[in-house]
Structures are given as C-alpha cells and as structure tokens.
Symmetry: C3
Subunit: 349 residues, 3 copies
C-alpha cells in the first residue's frame, strides 16, 4: 500500500549509499525566460546567443544557478523532506557548460552521518552530482542537513563526519567555461568596464538595488526546479507551525542576490564554484532583498590567460540597504543578514 | 458597430451547429516551462527528452492537461462567456501525441440544448475537438454548461439531451501513446517502482502534499491558455458579485491535483481519457489544495502489452489533508471537496 | 571603487552623445509564452506558426510590444534611473520583423536637453534604436523623461528641444510587416470578421473586459524585459515615498490595454508605429484595467494592397468600465484614465 513516500528519516540513511533521484529534466529556453522573469539577471553571456558566440560559446549557456537549482531540486524528496534545517554547502563545482536542450539528472552519495545528542535528529552529509544522460558530470556539491528521526530509540549508524575543503582549489576551476576570446568580449555591451584585474581583495561593493519578493514568485521558481519541499508551498500546514508562514527556498535568495550583484560585478559572468554558504535567516514574502559583495581572493587559472577567478563573499539582507556592508553585530550576524555565500566567479582578463 | 462580442446566450445556439474558435496556438517549450512552474509536475516522460526517447517517443511530449487547457481555452469566448455554471465533462479522449512546435485549434459542435424550467437559463452540450493544422484530431471531449438567456421570453429550440457514455471504453484508449519500450523505462529515474500490475481496484492513495494558490498564479495559467472567462481576471466586477472574489479556473485545480498525484502514481504518465468530472466547489486564492485517488478499475488495451490503463477517481480538497480520503458526508460531498474527476491513466506494465 | 552606477543625472547628458546599452538579449519562444501568460494576447499571427506561415511569414513573429519592452528595458539604467517622470513617446516605428532566436540590443542618442526653471530637474530627449547583431534596425522611438540633477548649482548644457512629428507618416509604415497573402487570412480562425475597410474614423469601441493586476505579475514582466527601474521592485524604498507603493511599469499597462483591444480589433495584428503616448496616472497592484479605442484616421500604404493602417487612440482606465468611452472631465483627463496612446495598427484589406 505504501505507494507514497513520507521521505527518509535519519535512521534510513546508510553511509556510502548512492541514491538516484527522480525526475530527469530537459532544460530549455523556456526555463531561461522564466529565470530572467524571476530574477532579472542581466549577464550578457547568458542573455545573448550573439554575445556568447562572439567569445567562443556555441550559444548562450544556461545561468549556472539555474543549473544548480534544477540539480538540487531533484534531491529534496529523497534527502530533505524531513529536514529541520539546511546547514551548509561545500565543494560545489560547475564541471560542464549546460545549454538549452540538455537533460539533467542527479544522484547523491551519503558521505557522512552524525546523530545529535538529543537523539531526535541527525546530520546527513551528501555529495550530489548532476549529470547529462551520457553520464558526464555537470555539477557536484556537498550539502549537509539536519534530519528528523522517525523513532528516537532507533539505533543510529556510527558517526562519520567527512573532511571538507574550506574552499575549492582555484586550480580546479574553469571546466564549465570554454576558452573565451577576450578581444571579442564587448565591455560596453556587457554593461561594465571592470575586468578581473580591476578588483582587489578587501574591496567591498554595495549592489544598491532591492527586490521585493512575492509568494507567487518563489512558488513559481521552486516548482520550476521541481523542488518539492513542503515548507515552500503549503500555507495550510505552515499556518500551524511556529513560523506561521511559507519559507522561501534558500536558492531563491541566492539567485536574487546574484542578480543584484550585476550592478558592480557585471563581468563576473560565470559561477565556477561555491566554497560554502549559510542561510543565516529565513526570507518571507513581502520582504525586500538587498546585497553586497566583498572580494576575498583573486586567482589565476593554470594555463589560462582568458579568464581569472575572484573569490567573493555575497551577503544578502532583508529590508536593509547595504551601503555600509552589514555583516556582524559582535559575534553574531547582523539581524538583517539572510545569506552569507562564498563563491568563485570567473571574469575576463 | 458591434465589433465586440458580448458572448452567446442560450437562444443563440443551434443544435448541430459547428463553431470554429479563435485563436490558433503554437505550443512550445516555453509553455512547457510555464506549466512546470505553475504546477510542479514531475512525470519523467513529459519532463525529459532523454527519458522519452529511451522508451520510444521522438522527444518529450506535452503534458496531456496542458493540451487540454489550450484546446479548452479557445472555446470559452464562444461557448461559456455567459455561463452560470460549468456542469460536467464526458467522453474526453486524447487522440494524438502533441510536441513543442505543434499548432492547435478547436471547433465545437452543439450536440444538445435544454432550456431550464425557469426559462432564464438553458444547458448547452458541445463536443469540442482540438486539431492540428492538417485536420488530424488531438483531443475530443463533451462539456455541458448552464448558459443565461438574453431574453426570458425568447423561444427556445426543442430540447435535445445527448446520450453520453458513463466512461470511455478502454478498448479505445492509447491513440496518444506510442508503443513504449518497457525495458528502457527506468523506474528509479521515474521516481516510483509501481507498475500497472501493482495497483488494484479499491485501492486509495493519499497524495500527502498541499499546494497553496496565489491570484497571480491562476491568472498567469488561465491567460497562458488564452481562456477569457471574466470571472477569473476581473476583481472589479467580481467584487460586486455574490462571491466577491475571482473564481479560479477549474482546470487549474485539475492540474494541481494531477501534479500532487505524482506522489503515489509516479508512473501513471499519460492521461488517456477523462470519463467525467465535477467541480464540486470553487477554489479561491489563498486556499491550499490537497488530493487523493482511488483505483476504480483496471483494463488491458487490446493488442498492447506495453501499457495498461487504470481508471482513477481523483478527488481534490481545499484546506483539508486527505489521509482519510474525504469524499461524502451523508449524500452530499464533504464540504472540503472541490473536484471529483474520473479518468483513465496509462502505466507501463 | 565606483564599480556600481547610481545612474546618470541631468547634467551628465551631452547633446548628440550616443549611449550603448547593456544587456543584449536573445528573445525566444520562452519569452513568447511568458508574454501570453502575462497579458493573454490572442492575435492569431503572433500566436500560431501555422497561421503566420499561411499568410507569408516564415513563422509566428514576436508581439511588437514584446519587442518594444525588450528594447526599452535596456535604456533604463542609463537614461531613467534618476527620472522623476516619463513624459512622452514619439516617432516610434517598428522597422523589421523579430522572430524567436533573434538577438536585440539598444543604443540611444541624446537629441534634446532642457533644464527646468527650478534648476532641480531637466528634460532629456533620446532617440533609442533597437538593432539585431548585424546592425539592422528593428525599432526606433523618441522618449523624453524628466531627470533629477545631482547638484542644483551644476551648469546645464544649453537648451535644445527637438522638433518631433505629431504622428508617424503612414507612407513610412509597413517595414516590419511582410506582404501578406490576404486570401489565406482566415478571419474565422482569427476571431473577427472585421477588415481594414470596416472601420471608420470617429468609431469608438469599448473592449468590454477588465484585468486585475498583481504585484508578482508586473514584477515578472518588468524583469523579463530586464528593466531595472527601482520604483517597480523595491517596496522597502517605495514605502518611504509619497506614493508608498510600487509603481507598475507603464509598458505593462500598454500591453494589457492592447491585449484587451483584441475584443473589437481582432485583426489589427501589427503595431506599426506609436505616434505618441502619455501615462496619465499610475497603476497599482489590485487595480483592474479596462480599455477602449477610437479610430482617429485611416491610411493606405503606398504600393500595398494587402494591408491598410488605422490610426487608433487606445485609452486605458483603472477600476472603471469603458462602455461610455471615458476620456476627459472638462479640460482634465477623467480621473480613471491611466493611459492615452496614439498608434498605427495594420489590418488585412
């Protein structure tokens, strides 16, 4: 009779297990149009076939975060349906360009398990991999989530916490970016004169604009990604929760902040890796998202003179402009901060 | 001067008349992306070109209900602009696979007319047919609606109530499903292990999840289908009505319930026919839709060993989870029930 | 450090200067689907590849206003980020058919500057041109906006107010419409029997229906067009303004009114030129838009017997049906009027 799934609980995961996720998904120019409508992204490479062709792509590639959300969405019903909290990301690398017409599916390997002392929950670490049908990898990342136990008294598997890199080695970046023809990169058309060499570690950039979020918008986005997490869609159930409201998918915040970051980082056209990220506080419909960035580091890519990598901290706030780069109040995050993301972006040199 | 149409009234219809509807519509991957964003559908065949090709389609077909809504939408301005109520559906068959790039148009034949005893309204029965430009049929269904009279004293045509089948004969199903290669059907990737043979009549399945609906969502959907029914869009007029609010297109509820039904019926990939359906109560923005299904019957398709048909009752509720399969309270519907749909779905064997 | 742009102020513009705008944009069937979902447009030529091919297009062209919005959106961050008011349009001509897959970019020439007597603001006139990557023109229009000065005491350039035509010469219309095969134009399928010759100057048409607008809808639209005007998206900032709410992009109103005008002008399939337009009052979410049209003039196109041009006034109101064609109360606009647009549309003869 159990044809529906209540989702896995902590004691259902096994170390080393590989989970294949439904549903495979062909991404199209329809998804691209929706991504633009949802986030207002303006990076020229992803927006214009002509611009992309000019610098060496066969056509405009998909926005990297659209690829991330589609690959991520598939994991939810197997990994995080009974999750209490999405704790972190690490070692996320974009490994191949994705174009409209490509099909993506996802598998996850359980790489860590640790029961909490309360015995009510445990932390599950998975390495999820998005692939094309030929098996080639498109995206890989580690995520860890706190998952409820079905039964407190159930024996837990022995603890195993994986060792994770604090940042992706820049020498491994660039697989999802073809060698570009820098002479053909039109900075005027791209909307910013600033190249890789114009940014220096320590530099902070306020992205100025704010974007207010509506329930219909985040629901459309999250369904587009076939992400089934109940907290995003079911107001009837959420009304009975402590929070009382629908929670907005954390990836929605990342994409909003990344789109806002165009104003200041207009040539940071490719997200090559995500070193880590924390959803510091929830976002709700009606809130306005602002963002600022800090340049943390700069790296050349081995053997490549066309692009360089900036390590960026991208901070998003709600209902709080970012002219003064809010981050911490004492040891805690500033109460307006909702996202603290650490990633590598590529820019033309 | 009468260049605009106020819509037809009951006395404007003639038995046997065939009405050609505007506007022809080419369906695209853009529509597919929007359908996913609006409903979160996750059936692998419609989601992945690679999956569809693997089992014998040239590419992913359109979701059957997207085809239904596009064909249906065209009929509204000619048939139901002055309708008081959408009373029922019958004999709905999907007759041909539809792919992105296909163009659809619709005609309707008036097959029944019956004035109500009040003489203020009458019931109009139409058989609507969706076609590709070569004239081949894509979809056929009977719908009956209660339509206002312009003038109570107008003579009505003689009553004629058509005889309708209570269910589509399963021997006629399958035209819109190519012979599939069952060996290539990947149940892991599809998200459910359950095949045709795993379901038995009498079985009831709670689809668990709920989906809250926003005004922007149903308006986007209904405009996408070029459905012009005023009650869905015009709050200024609705505010003056007894209901006071915009009514949500009944098809929106059907698609939400069908998408929710993936959790429990993940391999029921093709809606082959709709035997009947009733919009028991209206849905409004802010309500949360839940759904459950009952297996009513099972049938093999003549000469086909690749797929079998399940006759399913799909019940949707608002603000009421379906763990106990709510349907009736005494002779009446449970007050939470909003949809009672009877359809045939195909599953791999 | 100034990697972000606060937008140009009045004293930053130079007469004769040509500004290249970011971001180039490939338009796709995804954009077409979203345009349909946002506005419910039903013109057969733009909706059906088969219909378009029948009359001589290679496939369905993009809706003219979608082209307008994409070309316009790019100008905002350079021209009107610090605008106080969008004052008018003139000399807008559609010069080339646009199909899914085409890429558009925009440049603007500053053709007029006039400081206001307050010295706090000035009027900037630009002629904006949308082009395909081969440099061929797609669309040209003049717009003038009132822009804040950064510094009241800053010297202003000498005043220059360009001479603008009060209407586009009909002899110059038609570049963006191929010669159509009138015999193949199926009026039944298009949804209206009325041709060019059936409309007479002075004729007024109420478009009957109303459409209520939601915040999510206009935000999705405006981001789709990569229009970055802050007033549309940032409720946090708007809450502190006199208006207190997000303003809806004026182009959203134009597209809603144009879509409503299908009921009465179903064969006016191509917007060939916009002679002028005024956003009389702002529209806010929750308001319901109605529209009516007046035929101002009629013109044949030199050497063409396939199509003729109607000069139309398109008036939109909020929360006010248009059966009595509201326009003025004394010398002022009727308080319900929000748009007064003057354009040329082509219809088959």
């Amino acid at each position: 009779m159990a044809k529906t799934t209540p989702g896995r609980f902590f004691e259902d995961f096994r170390l080393g297990e590989v989970i294949r996720h439904a549903t495979p998904r062909t991404v199209t120019t329809g998804d691209v149009a929706l991504y633009t409508a949802l986030y207002g992204s303006r990076f020229a490479v992803q927006s214009s076939d002509a611009f992309a062709r000019g610098i060496g792509y066969p056509s405009a590639p998909l926005d990297d975060l659209l690829v991330f959300h589609v690959v991520f969405g598939k994991t939810v019903s197997d990994i995080s349906l009974n999750a209490v909290a999405n704790l972190g990301y690490a070692e996320c690398r974009f490994l191949q360009v994705v174009y409209p017409g490509d099909t993506l599916d996802t598998t996850s390997e359980v790489i860590g398990l640790k029961e909490n002392s309360s015995r009510k929950t445990g932390v599950v670490y998975v390495r999820s991999t998005g692939r094309k049908p030929d098996g080639s990898k498109v995206l890989e990342y580690v995520r860890w989530v706190m998952v409820n136990k079905r039964d407190e008294s159930a024996p837990a598997p022995g603890d195993h916490v994986p060792t994770l890199q604090s940042a992706v080695d820049p020498a491994t970046l660039g697989s999802a970016c073809p060698t570009i023809n820098g002479n053909a990169y039109d900075y005027g058309l791209a909307g910013s004169p600033d190249q890789f060499g114009d940014y220096a570690p320590g530099e902070k950039i306020d992205h100025v604009d704010g974007m207010t979020v509506e329930e219909a918008e985040h629901q459309l986005a999250t369904r587009l990604f076939q992400n089934t997490a109940r907290v995003h869609f079911n107001q009837f159930a959420q009304a009975k929760s402590k929070i009382g409201r629908r929670l907005i998918y954390g990836g929605h915040v990342i994409s909003l902040a990344r789109s806002l970051s165009f104003n200041g980082l207009g040539n940071a056209f490719h997200v090559a890796a995500i070193n880590g990220g924390r959803h510091v506080a929830p976002l709700f419909a009606g809130d306005t998202v602002f963002a600022w960035s800090e340049v943390i580091d700069r790296a050349e890519l081995p053997g490549r003179t066309d692009v360089g990598a900036l390590r960026l901290r991208l901070v998003a706030t709600k209902d709080r402009p970012c002219a003064d780069h809010p981050l911490r109040t004492g040891k805690d995050y500033d109460p307006a901060v909702i996202l603290d993301l650490d990633y590598w972006a590529l820019l033309p040199r």
